[in-house]
Symmetry: C2
Subunit: 308 residues, 2 copies
């Protein structure tokens, strides 16, 4: 990118994995001008200054958003309403506020009542992450070829939404627009419930005294390891996801346990046909994901070298 | 390796992912002499001949095991009893029969009653695999640094067990001995239940009409993809695993649903403390797996290039 930055001045509120990756990625692309960073914890601000994260790091949220053209709420979802209340009096007319939370209906409900006149809110959900968190976890390529869902609120000027989409695209992401309720249901299915299940399975393995922790860890490559990987994400972030996307997660959980009980019954009664039919159907879904180019089909999932 | 092969003549019964990988791996190591292959399906035998899988491929199971020093049952677990019955009259005195199934109590119950005098059985469970199956799916490095659990039956000559362990080590695996019941419980926890849950989640996503298949596939990188990967394994193999390891899977499933309901209740009642404590504990387990060297902690699990 060259020429005028999409947003001359950007404020990142919260300096974890996502915000720090946004900074490094924006740096790479030239999509934004000056970046001010703020984090509630003095230790995080210290770390940010030490590693050169953001052009400047300030000690108050009011100073961070002053004159900013784009304000990014990158705190846990449960804190966004309070942050919005704090920054509202200091926002520049014409500014855009966005967030990077994994839930949208609740964020919109918490944030928009505090919006001053002349300031817009459009939600963002960059669907990217690692099992690491904190200001040192970020890297420039985190969003490359990942989806960022854009969730506008009604009545927003299309030009404002367009610019935010172009911003995420400059950071490497592909964008798609979605309304808040549909967003929350899609994410419950593809992300929130898979994470909850992974957390549960890891907890069960740890609890089951008949199998030692040493064995669980030693033999984890047999399937369990993929669960621990997704169960290692930030606990505060995930607590807030489940508390704020309650309705969709409870609905999908209900379907999941219904289905699991049906398979459990097939196991108990020895109904091999039902099990085989079910496993054949899910295999086809995996094939579709490969065909859609969303993963590699290399043996061992790209982790080992293949030779004969 | 050099010198005398551990087993001068080996018969592979069933020519899927595991048996074909055993052949390529043994070829690489020199651990065995002549390898005879047999598969029930004429099409599989044809494929094996075409790609040079095994030194010879024969059309009857009797011909395959004749004069073999080691016979490997590499069929689905549910078929092993019948195969053993078929081969019993043709086994050479002093031969060793092993299997590569994921369940052991049932295999031992099905196989050992048919053992002729002078023939031993020791179970093997190479904990390695990919989402691919069939004679063309195998590769030489599949077992490298993976565990192969060795499950002896009581009264077996220690020298016979030792030689089988050395054989798997020559194929690249690390070995550990375990009794059959403990093996089946460990595998229920680290492998069977994680697979069942992944199958279920993929099925639920496909069923939930409020989220389109297109969306499930498109946004799968958000966590769901790790589930589809393990849910893509061979349906026949997994059907047999659940039918033959029923008691352990039902026990672990019971613990899993108990735990999942407790988390669901915490979500419904808004108990953030309980969720946070649970997620913090599972994160620690993930850390142990990294420390044990069973996985990589690279961002995005080693899939993306990291730069700033």
């Amino acid at each position: 990118m060259s020429g005028t930055p999409l947003y001359p001045r950007v404020a990142l509120i919260g300096l974890g994995l996502i915000a720090s990756s946004m900074f490094w990625s924006a740096r790479r692309s030239g999509a934004i001008g000056h970046v001010v960073g703020y984090a509630r914890s003095a230790e995080t601000r210290e770390t940010a200054r030490r590693i050169g994260l953001c052009d400047s790091v300030v000690d108050s949220v009011a100073a961070a958003v002053r004159d900013a053209d784009l304000v990014v709420l990158a705190t846990p979802v449960g804190a966004m309403g309070a942050v919005m209340q704090d920054i509202a009096p200091h926002l520049k007319p014409g500014a855009l506020v966005t967030d990077v939370g994994s839930v949208k209906r609740r964020v919109i409900e918490d944030v928009t009542p505090h919006l001053p006149a002349g300031v817009d809110f459009v939600g963002s959900h960059p669907m990217a992450g690692t099992e690491h968190s904190g200001p040192e976890a970020g890297f420039a390529s985190l969003f490359d070829n990942r989806w960022c869902l854009i969730v506008p609120v009604e009545g927003t000027d299309p030009a404002v939404i367009d610019r935010l989409e172009r911003f995420w695209q400059a950071l490497g992401a592909e964008t798609e627009r979605m309304d808040a309720d549909h967003h929350d249901m899609v994410c419950a299915v593809v992300s929130h419930i898979p994470h909850l299940i992974a957390y549960t399975m890891v907890g069960v393995a740890d609890d089951l005294r008949r199998v030692s922790d040493r064995e669980v860890i030693k033999f984890s490559a047999a399937g369990f390891r993929d669960f621990t990987r997704i169960a290692a994400s930030d606990p505060t972030m995930w607590r807030d996801v489940f508390l704020t996307n309650r309705d969709a997660t409870i609905e999908v959980l209900g379907r999941f346990t219904e289905e699991l009980f049906a398979l459990q019954r097939a196991i108990r009664t020895g109904d091999g046909e039902q099990l085989h039919a079910y496993f054949t159907r899910t295999r086809a879904i995996r094939r579709s994901i490969l065909e859609a180019g969303q993963d590699t089909d290399k043996p061992d999932f790209g982790r080992v070298h293949v030779d004969r």
